[in-house]
Every structure is written in C-alpha cells, then in structure tokens.
C-alpha cells in the first residue's frame, strides 16, 4: 500500500489531472449511454407488467381480435394496429416524395431569394404543436375534404369492384384513416425535408461540379450523385418521420373518426393505438386499463420492429 502511494508522485505531474479527467469523462458518458438502456428497459417492463392481465386473459387473440367492448370486458387490438400502420403508411407515401422534392429544390434549384423563406417556413412547421395540426385538420381540412373529395369520390366509385370497396365511404364526414394519414404527412414533412436538406447541403460541391463537368443533367446529378451520397441520412430522416407518424396521438384523435372497427375502405373512420389510448385512458379501470397499457406495449413493439428494419436497410445501403 505504502509502496503504491510512494510511487505515485513519480508519475509525471502534468499528465495526472488529464488522466483523471479522461477517466471521469469516459465513465460519465458511459453512464449517460447506459441511462438510455435502463430507461428503455424500465418503460418496456412497466408496459409489460401493466398489460400482462390483458395478454393473459386474451392470449394471442388480443392481437387478432377485432372486438372492443368495454361493457363486457372483451378487448382486441387488431383494428387499432391496422389503423396505426395504415395511417403511418399513407403519411409516408404522401410525405416522403414531397419532402425529398422540397429538399432537392431548396438545395439545387431554388433562387437564393426564395430559399430562405421556405427553409424558415419548414422549420416553423416542425415547431407547430400536434394539437394545432389536429384542430386545423378538424375545422379547416375535414369539411373541405368531405365536400370536395370524399362525397364526389364516393358517388363515382359506389358499386365498382375493388375501387368501390377501398375508396367508398359509408358516411362521408371527412374524418377517417385517409384524412389522418394526410395530416400526419403534413406533420412529418418538416422533419424529413429539413434533415434531407441539411444532408444534401453538406455534400462537397466538387462532387456535383465534376458530374456537371462530364455533362450530367440536373436530374442525373440528383439521381446518381446526391441521393446515393445522402442515402443513409435520407432513410434515417424517413424513419424519424415514421416514428412520429406511428406514435402521433392528439392530431390523429381529432381527425381519425374514433371508430373501434375495421373497415375495408381507407376513407372510413377508424382508430390508431395512440388515439384509442387517448380516448379511453381517462375513464378506464381494471381490465380495460390493462388492455390499453397492452396496446401501448404493442405500439412500443411495432416501433421497435420498424427501427430494426430501418437499421438493416441502412447497413445494406452502406455496403453498396
């Protein structure tokens, strides 16, 4: 012991504080990283424990059943799972091309005087709280959508095979799965567009210039130089948007129609996992509460799977 303390002063004095700081810094950042894992495990654990009675009661049927009867304590998650996935999918189908278009235009084509206002507007859109999107959707978008899209469309497609099923709405109120998807698309555009724009701007201009130099058109530059370069980041941005679309609650609750049933038409009202929890959590007791927490658990799981798929996609893109 004494030998050790005696040898200590022999070490170079200037290095000791730096070494200590390095050690503290290293451990502190390790703890910070560990904290995320512990937090995530804690959330997962509490969801599983809270939802367990529902899983035990209904077994696998909790996922596949479409019955949601609060009075007889029968719960099934299927319509909510389908609603969550389909609204998120619609949001991506609409939102991703628009976002990429915005990002490419802003970085490659827009005149400078137009660039800044649009860029600022996009950042402002990202800062709008979701409940504002919900209220705007309900009071402004929904009546217009019902009057000018849903009603004429229903009249046209009624009775047609397939199209008449998917696009016909039995009560064209403007509320529904498709409306929720559109509102979600508006909400994820700022995320995807601004991240993609940042990424495209960071691509060294020498790459673009040499492509133009060998006679490439703007389209070819975007397609063969910019997109492969920023590919990983674009997928990351899309996944961030998808995460928001899957979990978005208030805005969707306003416009999805809150129907606890599965409809073949994407224009009919439905519900998502998040909207159903928002609707019923306040007054839920007993098994209903367990079922809602179990729904939350499923949402957690779905989001996790989506992120894993995203990781796999990203690593495949990298290998090219």
């Amino acid at each position: 012991m004494t030998a050790v303390t005696q040898t200590m002063p022999a070490a170079p004095l200037r290095k000791t504080p730096k070494g200590t700081f390095d050690l503290v810094f290293r451990n502190a950042s390790f703890l910070a990283a560990l904290f995320v894992l512990v937090l995530l495990a804690g959330i997962m654990l509490s969801m599983v424990i809270g939802g367990w009675p529902a899983f035990r009661e209904f077994g696998f049927g909790f996922i596949t059943s479409s019955v949601w009867d609060t009075q007889n304590d029968q719960y099934g998650a299927w319509p909510a799972i389908v609603g969550t996935l389909s609204t998120a999918l619609i949001a991506l189908v609409i939102g991703v091309p628009l976002s990429l278009g915005i990002a490419v235009y802003l970085t490659q084509l827009a005149p400078p005087w137009f660039k800044q206002p649009v860029a600022t507007a996009i950042e402002l859109l990202a800062a709008v709280p979701s409940i504002i999107y919900g209220m705007w959707g309900l009071f402004v978008f929904v009546p217009l959508f019902a009057a000018y899209v849903q009603v004429p469309l229903s009249n046209i497609v009624e009775g047609l095979p397939l199209v008449g099923t998917v696009l016909y709405s039995r009560s064209p109120s403007g509320l529904g799965i498709f409306t929720a998807g559109i509102i979600l698309a508006f909400m994820i555009i700022p995320f995807i567009a601004s991240i993609t724009r940042d990424m495209l701007e960071q691509i060294p201009s020498v790459l673009r210039e040499s492509a133009y130099g060998i006679g490439a058109t703007t389209w070819e530059v975007v397609r063969h130089v910019l997109v492969p370069q920023a590919g990983v980041s674009i997928i990351g941005a899309v996944m961030l948007g998808l995460g928001r679309a899957l979990g978005e609650t208030m805005a969707v609750t306003f416009v999805v129609g809150n129907a606890n049933r599965l409809s073949a038409s994407i224009l009919d009202p439905g519900s998502t996992i998040a909207s159903r929890i928002a609707n019923e959590f306040n007054e839920a007791l007993g098994l209903q509460l367990n079922a809602l927490i179990a729904l939350g658990c499923i949402l957690f799981f779905v989001t996790f799977v989506v992120l894993v798929i995203a990781r796999i996609l990203v690593s495949r893109v990298k290998s090219y």
């Binding site: 019955v67 949601w68 009867d69 609060t70 009075q71 007889n72 309900l138 009071f139 929904v142 009546p143 019902a146 009057a147 009603v151 229903s154 039995r170 009560s171 064209p172 109120s173 403007g174 509320l175 129609g257 809150n258 129907a259 606890n260 049933r261 009202p269 519900s271 609707n279 019923e280 007054e283 007791l285 007993g286």
Partner: protein, 341 residues
C-alpha cells in the same frame, strides 16, 4: 416550537375529521352536473362534502362492487339477479331525456320528424341519404338535401349509449338481433366522439350528421334536434313535461331496484327516449356510517334539490316514486341488522 407542533397536530386531526365525513361516490357522467350542484348546496347547509368521480357508469358499477366508494352511479340499471348476487340496493335520483341532435343545412330545430325504426336503419347503415323516400314520407314540406347521413356515436362506454341502444332495440327487431342494447356496442357505421361534449362537437362540426346527446347538452350547445315519434304516435317536443310524462306513466314496481326503462312509454306527451339515472349502495355496507351519510345526502336532494335540477334541465322524480325509494332504503342495514335510515 412546541406550540406550533401541537397546532399542526391539531389541524391535521381536524382536517382528518372533516375528510372522514365526506361522502365518496363514482360513476355515471350524465348526472355529474346535478350531483355537483347538490353537493355544493349540501356542503353549505351541513358542512359535509361529496367527492364524486364521474368515471362513467361502467366504472361506477365496478367501483361499488369493489367497495371502494360509498355509492356507485349508473345510467343503465342493474338486473334483479345481479343486485341480489352483489347485495346491492338500487334507486333512481333524477331523470333526463336523450335527443337526436342533427346538423342538416336548412332544417331548424324540431322541424324534422323521425321514428325509432328510421333511426335504427340510419345507424345500421341501411338508410344512407337524408332524402331517402322513407324520411321524405314523414316530412312533407321539409326540403331534405341529397346528402349522405353521418351518424355520430359515443366512443367511450356510457349510460347514454345504453339508453339510446335500448330504445332502438325496443322499436327495431333488426337492431335488437344485430346490435342490441349496451353501454358500448359494435357500431356498424358512423364516427365516434368522446363524451357528450365529443358527440355534440362532432355533430356541430360535421355536415349532414346525426348524433345522440343528453337533452341538457343539446340545449346548452344550441344543437338542432329532431322529433321522435312516441308510443302513442305523437311527436312531442323534448322538454321537462315530455320527460315527466314518460315517468308518470311508467310502472316503477315492474323491475327490482326500480330498474325499469322509461324508453317508449305510453302517454300522448311522453318523450320516447327518457331515462332515470341510478345509485347503487350495499344493502349491508362494511362502513354503515358512510352509507348512512350517502342516504342522508340523497334524502336531502329529494327534499330540496328539485329546483336545482330543473334549473339545469334535469327532471325530478315524481313524489310517489321518492316515497317508494325511501321505503326501499329500510333494506340498508348495519352489522346488527338494524336499518340505518
């Protein structure tokens, strides 16, 4: 320092005593406004407070079964066998009506006439347009738009849904076999709103919609409503008199725990979709003093609460029903078997 401690201890003891005297209850959302009014007035008179959680009828039933409250409240009465099994006494407090609220351009309140059968067909998705020949046949002289009907319902479990679906089950055999009466049912069409507020907001917001709300909500939110044909074939306006007429003609002894439905009662002026709201209390409570305090509160409400009720569009029970309820309270006994009221 010591003085402060004693003072603190005393005040804790005091507040504890006041809290112990508070009556606890939970359940139906429909009577919450009137229970709150009664509680406020009762507190002024007796200094005894009421802690009522409006968590919905289903929650109220579950809470009283779990004995976490002195009384539970429900809009859908329990059946006789369930009351016996759980050892519960059930009695009504006030009544109200449910009205079909509509939002159809150009149709004023009380101008559109509907029958229960038509409403059932609308909510089943069989009648799709406002200018359906069946609706037009009832409404000569009213311009009905060529627009799809958007039915609105309660997305949360509620006594109001029970009253509405119970009425539809009584007038439409089709509804009875396909959907039935319950506090939450599997709606084949339509959009869901949370609470009376959610439904009235949706009806106001969505063009060509029809929903169902408590009369008080419809009135306060100035919603346009339709008239419904009653058992005598008339179309009375929904108001206090029409709800009272439904209660007057009912046979309150018909079901145990006064659990009758006031839907579709006979009477020229009776509003067809009327309901009482009920209180559940244990016949042999674990804490008799709590049950006694609850009964005293409702006795006071029967005596002095009618004016407060009519003030916010609830309908007081007929006097003879109140007497019958008081007689039923003799069934609530303490541990030695003595009636506590």
């Amino acid at each position: 320092m010591r003085k402060i401690l004693i003072l603190a201890a005393a005040s804790i003891g005091l507040s504890g005593a006041v809290q112990a005297a508070d009556i606890t209850g939970a359940g139906a959302t429909f009577p919450f406004p009137i229970y709150a009014k009664w509680a406020e007035a009762y507190k002024k008179e007796t200094n005894i407070g009421l802690n009522y959680q409006s968590i919905g009828s289903g929650g109220g039933i579950r809470q009283i079964k779990a004995k976490t409250v002195a009384f539970g409240a429900t809009d859908a009465p329990l059946k006789g066998e369930e009351l016996t099994k759980e050892g519960l006494i059930q009695f009504p407090t006030v009544m109200g009506g449910v009205v079909p609220a509509i939002n159809v351009a150009g149709i004023e309140a009380g101008k559109l006439k509907l029958t229960g059968q038509l409403i059932a067909e609308i909510y089943l998705g069989d009648i799709k347009k406002w200018n359906d020949p069946k609706i037009a046949a009832l409404n000569a002289g009213v311009t009905l738009p060529d627009a799809s009907i958007n039915p609105v319902y309660r997305s949360d479990g509620s006594g109001t849904t029970f009253v509405w679906t119970d009425y539809l089950s009584r007038v439409s055999p089709d509804w009875k076999t396909k959907i039935g009466a319950n506090q939450s049912v599997q709606w084949p069409v339509g959009i869901g709103g949370k609470g009376n507020e959610g439904v009235s907001a949706s009806v106001k917001q969505v063009a060509n919609s029809i929903g169902y709300v408590e009369y008080a909500y419809a009135k306060q939110n100035k919603l346009s409503f339709a008239l419904v044909q009653n058992a005598d074939g008339n179309y009375p306006a929904p108001d206090d008199k029409a709800f009272q007429a439904a209660a007057a003609n009912a046979n309150w002894n018909e079901a145990p725990g006064f659990g009758i439905s006031l839907n579709n009662q006979k009477g020229a002026q009776a509003w067809p979709i009327t309901s009482a709201t009920f209180i559940l209390i244990h016949a042999k409570p674990e804490k008799p003093e709590e049950a006694q305090a609850a009964l005293k509160f409702f006795d006071w409400a029967y005596k002095s609460g009618d004016e407060l009720a009519t003030g916010i569009d609830y309908v007081p029970l007929p006097g003879k029903v109140k007497d019958m309820v008081r007689a039923a309270w003799k069934g609530v006994v303490d541990n030695s078997g003595k009636p506590i009221f």
